[in-house]
């Protein structure tokens, strides 16, 4: 019935107001809705992308950042293939909460889940968290790192495409790569992502 070869669940988490919904809307609908209200519970969107000529269906779960929805959002961690942890580069508290989010991920998510740290709102002038701080944090915790702007559509497509490519490689290898060492293949990937994004920026 449906024409796709792989189906991956991608879950976005992070404090309220960091731009999770905007990232998803930008990627799935190509628009930036100004004055986006707070997400209630969990929103669900689907986008099919093509990787190496194969259709990959991304099921994107956009969770509410507010505390009162935590018991709903936590239930989605377990079945996620990839978790995108988002913070706002112009808002220190959203970065300071990352360890709490990681604890939550440790507790509820599969330990093989692909984890990506995203610093959103690079279009803002009032940056509070320098890029290298985010990078360091990601590296320490064995995560991919990317800075994005949902408003300017910067790196959004790439974020999801990298995830699709990576998950497809994992699925193809069947035997999932050993992520337990956390600094194995992941680390190499992290640098490559960073390198290329540096090139893009210069």
């Amino acid at each position: 019935m449906e024409d796709y070869k792989f189906l991956f669940k991608v879950v976005l988490v992070g404090n309220a107001g960091v731009g999770k919904t905007c990232l998803v809307r930008r990627f799935t609908q190509g628009l930036f809705p100004p004055g986006q209200g707070a997400t209630i519970g969990v929103d669900f969107m689907i986008k099919t992308v093509e990787v190496d000529g194969e259709k990959v269906k991304l099921q994107i779960w956009d969770t509410a950042g507010q505390e009162r929805f935590r018991s709903i959002t936590q239930s989605y961690y377990r079945s996620a293939h990839a978790l995108i942890l988002v913070y706002d580069i112009s808002c220190q508290p959203t970065f300071d909460c990352l360890p709490d989010w990681l604890r939550e991920i440790e507790e509820y998510a599969n330990n093989k889940v692909l984890r990506i740290l995203v610093g959103n709102k690079t279009d803002r002038e009032d940056r509070e968290i320098p890029r290298h701080i985010g990078e360091d944090f990601a590296q320490r915790h064995g995560m991919y790192f990317l800075e994005t702007s949902a408003k300017e559509a910067e790196n959004v497509e790439r974020l999801f495409m990298e995830i699709a490519v990576d998950l497809m490689e994992q699925a193809k290898c069947k035997e999932l790569p050993k992520y337990d060492g956390s600094l194995g293949p992941l680390n190499g990937k992290t640098t490559s992502v960073n390198d290329s994004s540096c090139c893009l920026r210069s």
């Binding site: 519970g41 969990v42 018991s71 709903i72």
Partner: protein, 709 residues
């Protein structure tokens, strides 16, 4: 007729011929004469006609002149008519102006009557008449009033405005008095006057405030919880409070529906009423949540103790959702609104719902419900796991029965919250716990007990069987294997059932309007996707079953290997042959009976796999032994019996048994030349045929090589 023709036709050499020709000529002459005279007579008529034509021509000229005159006349008439109609139009305009003037005169007369009338009506406490006067004033054209002023009359508007505001003050005072007396009829009568004096919104505010004060006490009365320890006491109080709120909203709607613009008045009234509902509901829910939170900790480990609070939280959340659905349906029920007005009204109401306090209260209730539900689910599953490992073999209740009973109950309760997000989260949690059970089963099935299924050993080595050991671990192992099998099926069935039952979520929110349509489709997809997550649990159960079946195969392998060797054993006593050939089918019957009795769902697959193991080993052994014809005959007979058994009992292994039977038939050949008769076409590849034949000590290798296959 020409002369030459005459000459040809008639023989002029004879007299007779000449005579005939002459006659003919005469006849023609007469005809020509006649024709000529005819022509001559026509010339006369022609002349006559020409004359008439020339006369007609002159007449036509006259007619033309006449026509020209007539045309000019018509033109002139048309011009005249045009002039006339323009005059008529002017007359019309003048008449309408006169009518307008008359109306204004009436207005002016009324205006005097009105401003005086309002005062007298107020004095007479006849507010209906006073309001009627004001309404009349408001319906007047501003032009009339301006005209009145232009004529030097003291500005009537000032008087009128003053009168209207006096009336308003009186009405407000009367309204307040009536509302203090709680005189519903007076309040409603007075409210109806406000739209007439052009102050509908002020009226709505007053009326809504009056309703709100009534509602406040109603909610307080309804929300009183006498015995908070009683199960469901808070949910019942919340229901009563919300019902009171709904009743007041409906009362406002019915009264406002008749007054334009109803689509803005209803949300305006709701804005006054909603805070009272919120305050009451918030208080009840806060009490409920603190009372039920304390209940959670009390009897540690006893998951059943949290069930009543769980049901209450779910019910409370469902009631809140129901109240929202009730509000959303109001514009639809107000029949005198246009579609656009209904939409506007619904959008306003939606905004009030989104911003009101009980929306957040509902979210908190749901959050606590989910936390508690997760606790219940985890504890219940822990208990089921503990119970199932304690009662080894006792088949009183099974792990899978227990956990699916729990999962179904929890999912139903999740759906009963009336929230798609709640139902989805519960489905996710249930999936996680079921997957955990699948993994636990898998761990328990990793190591099978010795002799999990009975398979008697081959006869020649008939050692005394080990004394029957404790059957309990064996029975438990097989029972768990069955549970893993049914767990996989149940997980899938549960997912379907959940999707079916969740349809109620959309029925409940029915009539929520077009805006919710897209949300509904999204909600359905979301729920389906979460239900599909139970497939992972089915996978875990299936993995456990596969592991168990593989372990069973490994456990039976030594016995099967012994049978494989016995099957292709070249040295056998002829005397025992017939009895011995039936030994393996008999042993397999024992195995198959036991498997079918104890693993009904997976017995066939297991038997096929076991037989495949046996046949593979027999094939290997056959290629290592040496046979004479007698030995070959024995093997052939035994394998044929086995192939027959496989045909009836393990269709999956029939082909492989057939191949072994073909190989055995080769071993039993009398002469090498008979190969083609013995072998069914394409039963074995040629290389294999040569390998098998080479095992016969009495066949020469060169002869075998020379065989055409």
């Amino acid at each position: 007729m020409s002369l030459t023709l005459l000459l040809e036709k008639y023989d002029v050499s004879t007299e007779e011929g000449l005579q005939k020709a002459l006659n003919k000529i005469e006849k023609e002459e007469a005809e020509v004469d006649e024709a000529l005279s005819n022509a001559l007579s026509r010339a006369c008529t022609l002349e006559g006609r020409l004359r008439t034509a020339s006369q007609a021509y002159t007449k036509l000229g006259e007619v033309r002149n006449d026509a020209q005159v007539a045309a000019n006349m018509v033109d002139k008439t048309a011009a005249l008519a045009k002039d006339v109609s323009a005059k008529v139009r002017q007359l019309d305009l003048a008449r309408s102006r006169v009518a307008e003037c008359q109306r204004r005169v009436h207005d002016l007369i009324d205006l005097r009557v009105c401003s005086a009338g309002v005062e007298t009506a107020i004095k007479a406490h006849d507010y209906e008449t006073a309001a009627g006067h004001v309404a009349r004033f408001l319906s007047m054209e501003p032009g009339s009033v301006a005209a009145a002023r232009a004529r030097g009359v003291a500005d009537p508007r000032r008087d009128m405005d003053a009168a209207a505001s006096t009336l308003r003050d009186h009405l407000v005072r009367k309204f307040e008095e009536a509302s203090k007396r709680e005189d519903d009829t007076a309040v409603e009568r007075l409210f109806k006057l406000f739209p007439q004096i052009g102050r509908a919104e002020e009226g709505v505010d007053l009326y809504a405030k009056y309703l709100a004060s009534q509602l406040e006490s109603a909610v307080r009365r309804a929300g009183a919880v006498e015995r908070s320890s009683e199960a469901g006491a808070f949910a019942a109080a919340l229901t009563r409070a919300l019902e009171a709120g709904a009743a007041h909203v409906e009362r406002a709607r019915l009264l406002l529906a008749a007054h334009a613009p109803a689509h803005t008045l209803l949300p305006r009234a709701l804005a006054h009423l909603q805070p009272k509902v919120c305050a009451g509901a918030r208080r009840i829910c806060a009490d409920m949540m603190s009372a039920r939170r304390a209940g959670e900790a009390a009897p540690a480990g006893d998951a059943r103790a949290v069930e009543p609070p769980l049901c209450e939280l779910a019910l409370a959340h469902e009631r809140l959702q129901l109240y929202f659905a009730f509000l959303r349906k109001r514009p639809e029920l107000t029949t005198n609104l246009t579609e656009a007005e209904k939409e506007k009204c619904l959008a306003e109401i939606e905004k009030i719902i989104l911003e009101c306090e009980i929306t957040r209260v509902a979210q908190d209730v749901l959050s606590q419900y989910l936390t508690l539900e997760r606790y219940f689910l985890e504890e219940s599953v822990n208990k089921a796991l503990k119970l199932s490992s304690a009662q080894s073999g006792a088949t009183g209740s099974s792990l899978v029965d227990d956990v699916f009973y729990i999962a179904r109950k929890v999912i139903r309760r999740g759906i009963s919250t009336g929230s798609v997000d709640g139902a989805c989260a519960v489905l996710n949690e249930a999936g996680a716990q079921l997957e955990r059970c699948g993994a636990a089963l898998r761990r328990r099935l990793a190591a099978p007990p010795p002799d999990p299924l009975p398979l008697p050993p081959p006869p020649p080595h008939d050692r005394p069987r080990a004394p029957p050991r404790d059957d309990a671990p064996r029975a438990l192992y097989l029972a768990l294997t069955n549970e893993a099998e049914s767990g996989a099926e149940w997980a899938e069935a549960l997912a379907e059932q959940a999707v079916r039952e969740a349809e109620a979520l959309w029925r409940g929110a029915g009539g929520a309007g077009g805006a919710a349509g897209a949300g509904q489709a999204g909600g359905r997809d979301k729920l389906r996707s979460c239900a599909a997550g139970l497939g992972a649990a089915a996978g875990a159960f299936r993995a456990a079953r596969d592991l168990a079946l593989a372990a069973l195969r490994t456990a039976l392998l030594p016995a099967l290997t012994a049978w494989a060797h016995a099957l292709v054993d070249p040295d056998t006593d002829d005397d025992e042959l017939s009895e011995e050939a039936g030994a393996l089918p008999a042993a397999l019957d024992v195995l198959a009976d036991a498997a079918r009795a104890q693993l009904p769902a997976s017995a066939d697959a297991l038997l096929a796999a076991l037989l495949a193991d046996l046949l593979a080993r027999a094939e290997d052994a056959l290629l290592r032994n040496h046979y004479d014809r007698r030995g070959g005959l024995c093997v052939e007979r035994r394998v044929r019996r086995l192939a027959t058994w496989a045909g009836g009992n393990a269709p999956g292994a029939r082909e492989r048994a057939g191949a072994l039977a073909a190989a055995a038939a080769l071993l039993a050949l009398e002469k090498l030349a008979h190969v083609h008769e013995a072998l069914p076409p394409a039963a074995l590849p040629p290389a294999r045929v040569r390998d098998v034949l080479a095992r016969r000590t009495d066949f020469k290798l060169e002869d075998i090589k020379r065989l055409k296959l």
